[in-house]
């Protein structure tokens, strides 16, 4: 099958974009996030065609390097890269030479020697992609590092919200759940506040990282409200986070049962939010724990939209990154 030669209708990369890597969203300006929105829109147009493939990244090699099990993020990146005609190599570090003790820096050096242009990396330790950038020239895309950041997830969440709302500025977002161990929460807090959205965090105090809610130049401004009913009052966006069941074993929670009683997003609780509030979840969902099945599958849920927008956002980011490599 011949791929279509139609050029994607995306804006030329402008000086607005200055990233060689995508490590976190905390160094994105509002303008850059808007550029991602516009580029994503163009990518969605491509995805609506009968043949969802353009030759934009033909000849580019993209490696997905995953040190943690992941299905949706890896697939999403793989599809995004293939839709742009890049060559994609998937390296599961859990079963490769890494499992035999090869260091991160050596693995990256090998990938570079093999000609990788972009390395999409998921790692259980915070900061691993930052260390990677010191030793190789390929662009690194952080597909989640430890508790630290998951910028592409935050961008797809923002884009999904942007599709539904006329303007982001002044909206109210609530993030409920295990903020402490969540890279999705950290990146969303940065992205949402950058776009002028008021963020409230709702969780047991044992799952709240130190310092959030205090004024400090190193942290974005957020409100803290441990009472879920009060937190949800008037919200436009509600995000619940996956509760790892081992949090109880590590003593951060007395029981999952009590967590459900205090923090599960139910229909009754959601009614405190605005009528057109959207419900987000980064997945995979523990139905009946952090969110009731009725809400997860209810009319306000955009959980499936998040997944499909994920491919378009990642296409946009890969496109913008290769633009930066040309310069």
């Amino acid at each position: 099958m011949r791929t279509t030669q139609v050029k994607p209708k995306v804006p030329e990369t402008t000086p607005v974009w200055r990233h060689h890597h995508i490590l976190d969203i905390d160094d994105f300006t509002g303008e850059e996030i808007e550029l991602v929105f516009h580029t994503t829109k163009a990518m969605k147009e491509i995805l609506s065609r009968p043949i969802k493939r353009v030759p934009t990244l033909r000849g580019k090699t993209i490696v997905t390097l995953f040190y943690e099990p992941s299905t949706r993020t890896r697939l999403s990146f793989e599809l995004a890269a293939k839709n742009l005609s890049a060559d994609v190599v998937n390296l599961n570090a859990l079963v490769s030479s890494v499992a035999k003790g090869e260091s991160l820096v050596d693995t990256l050096g090998t990938l570079q020697a093999l000609g990788a242009d972009i390395i999409v990396m998921r790692h259980p330790h915070s900061g691993a992609p930052y260390i990677a950038t010191r030793y190789i020239e390929a662009s690194i895309v952080n597909a989640g590092d430890g508790w630290h950041a998951h910028p592409t997830q935050a961008l797809l969440d923002l884009y999904t919200l942007y599709e539904h709302k006329e303007s982001l500025k002044g909206l109210k977002a609530v993030i409920i759940g295990d903020i402490m161990h969540s890279r999705v929460a950290r990146s969303n807090i940065w992205g949402l506040t950058t776009m002028g959205i008021e963020v409230t965090l709702c969780c047991p105090p044992t799952l709240l990282p130190v310092g959030l809610g205090e004024e400090h130049r190193q942290l974005p401004p957020v409100n803290i409200e441990p009472n879920i009913e009060l937190a949800l009052d008037g919200a436009d966006m509600v995000m619940t986070l996956r509760l790892q069941l081992e949090r109880q074993k590590s003593g951060l929670l007395p029981s999952i049962r009590e967590y459900i009683q205090l923090y599960q997003l139910t229909e009754a609780r959601l009614a405190r939010a605005k009528a057109d509030a959207l419900v987000f979840h980064p997945g995979p969902v523990n139905e009946g724990v952090e969110i009731s099945p009725a809400v997860a599958h209810g009319p306000q849920s955009v959980i499936n939209e998040q997944v499909s927008n994920g491919v378009a956002v990642r296409m946009a980011l890969l496109y913008l990154l290769t633009g930066s490599q040309k310069r």
């Binding site: 260091s103 900061g127 508790w147 630290h148 990282p209 942290l219």
Partner: protein, 436 residues
């Protein structure tokens, strides 16, 4: 050997601060003259020290020489050379080697190896517990007669309060201090850096100040209970300084140390995930630094010790969570600390005291008089330029440990020469000795 005259420097020692000259004869300090005075005998070599500070050789009560067991990180040969470059003529090595220094044989190994391969004095510290396991007391009496100057399970706290009580009590028989690394492990499990704003931002597990303060408070209570000598290693928090100050007011026998990095660097150094800024206890906050400096000034904190902890480049070239803790500190100590003097935080005289006669007091006279330029004492002398600026180049370190967060930074204050037992064991290229 011909006598050596160190001429025209500013000589600072306990109770002395004069410009003048110092004569070293047969390895000992033999004469001190003020101003232009010249020695009574005529035949000597001359080291011109105009514009330089001349003081007793520095003493480091806390360093890791990694030998035996981890010779790829450091050896007695390389560690003592690093010490000489840093102006240290006496260094006390921690016993967390492999095997640990928990018996007479290992102490004798350190002493004989140092005599053969070392260029400065190495004084060993023995373990508190057998195998550093925190279960049974090591044979402290035998360790004392083998020549240890203190006991410590450093790297690990003595977490068992019963063991710590017995250690403080039993060691009274030898008048030797127990040095504790204060860390409540239940609160630091998996911790990577100071718990606070920056750990939240970086998504790294935090090490709260309380983890240190809880054990400091417990140790002070046990020191009071037993009357034993307690020395708190690497104090890093405002809360610990407060606890120690109150304990001293009550007359509890406690001394304390702080490292150059905890006095000069904050947790913000970790931003960017620099594994060379990963150290235990972790770099804290500006507020803690302020309290530490106050503690130094009012003698709540008695001494400065480096906690020199060398690691190989490969050890640190990895994910932040996987990197070992530690900073290679002997060769940057003075340059770092002088920033406190240049900024007016502490006086030069205080700084020198904390590096010389104060640690000598803790060590005692087992190895003769240390940390002084008194006439007749073995000549351990450090000569440094307080204002010379230089750039930290880890490749130039004598230490095998190039792990410093200061690489590429400009420091003001540099060791120009180090004399151990009357012998020039280090000199900067710009220093020449004129033969008389």
């Amino acid at each position: 050997m011909k006598p050596l005259l160190i001429q025209g420097g500013r000589i600072i020692d306990e109770g002395i601060d004069v410009t003048g000259s110092l004569l070293i004869t047969e390895g000992k300090v033999s004469w001190l003259g003020k101003g232009e005075e010249t020695p009574p005998q005529p035949d000597y070599d001359v080291l011109h020290a105009q514009g330089l500070i001349v003081c007793p050789g520095f003493i480091d009560l806390h360093c890791h020489l990694r030998q035996p067991g981890d010779e790829e990180k450091e050896t007695i040969a390389t560690g003592t050379r690093a010490a000489a470059r840093g102006g240290f003529t006496t260094i006390c090595c921690m016993p967390n080697t492999n095997p640990p220094l928990d018996n007479q044989t290992t102490i004798e190994f350190i002493r004989s190896k140092s005599a053969l391969e070392g260029v400065v004095r190495v004084l060993p510290i023995g373990c508190i517990s057998k195998g550093r396991k925190g279960e049974e007391l090591a044979e402290m009496g035998e360790l004392a007669s083998a020549g240890v100057i203190a006991f410590s399970d450093d790297g690990e706290p003595a977490l068992n309060s019963y063991l710590m009580r017995q250690a403080l009590d039993y060691s009274r028989a030898f008048d030797l201090p127990i040095i504790d690394h204060c860390e409540d492990k239940a609160l630091t499990e998996g911790g990577q850096m100071n718990e606070g704003i920056i750990s939240t931002r970086l998504g790294l597990r935090g090490i709260p100040s309380a983890a240190e303060e809880i054990i400091v408070a417990r140790d002070l209570a046990l020191a009071q209970l037993t009357g034993g000598r307690l020395h708190i290693a690497h104090v890093t928090t405002e809360g610990s300084v407060d606890l120690i100050r109150r304990a001293k007011d009550k007359g509890i026998k406690v001394t304390a140390e702080v490292t150059p990095h905890h006095l000069t660097l904050t947790e913000e150094r970790v931003i960017g995930y620099d594994t060379n800024a990963k150290v235990n206890p972790p770099l804290r906050t500006k507020q803690d630094i302020k309290a530490l400096i106050q503690g130094l000034s009012d003698n709540t904190i008695d001494i400065i010790a480096t906690d020199h902890a060398p690691h190989t480049e490969a050890d640190k070239l990895c994910e932040f969570d996987l990197a070992p803790f530690g900073i290679s500190g002997l060769e940057t100590a003075l340059g770092s600390l002088m920033s406190l003097v240049h900024d007016g935080e502490i006086s030069l005289v205080t700084l020198i005291a904390k590096l010389t006669h104060e640690p000598a007091r803790i060590i005692g006279n087992r190895y003769g008089r240390l940390g002084t330029l008194a006439i007749g004492v073995p000549a351990d002398v450090t000569i440094f330029d307080p204002a010379l600026e230089w750039v930290v180049e880890p490749k130039a370190f004598a230490s095998k440990g190039k792990n410093t967060p200061l690489a590429g930074e400009r420091l003001k204050g540099r060791v120009m020469a180090t004399i151990y037992h009357g012998e020039l064991v280090y000199k900067d290229d710009s220093i020449t000795v004129k033969e008389g």
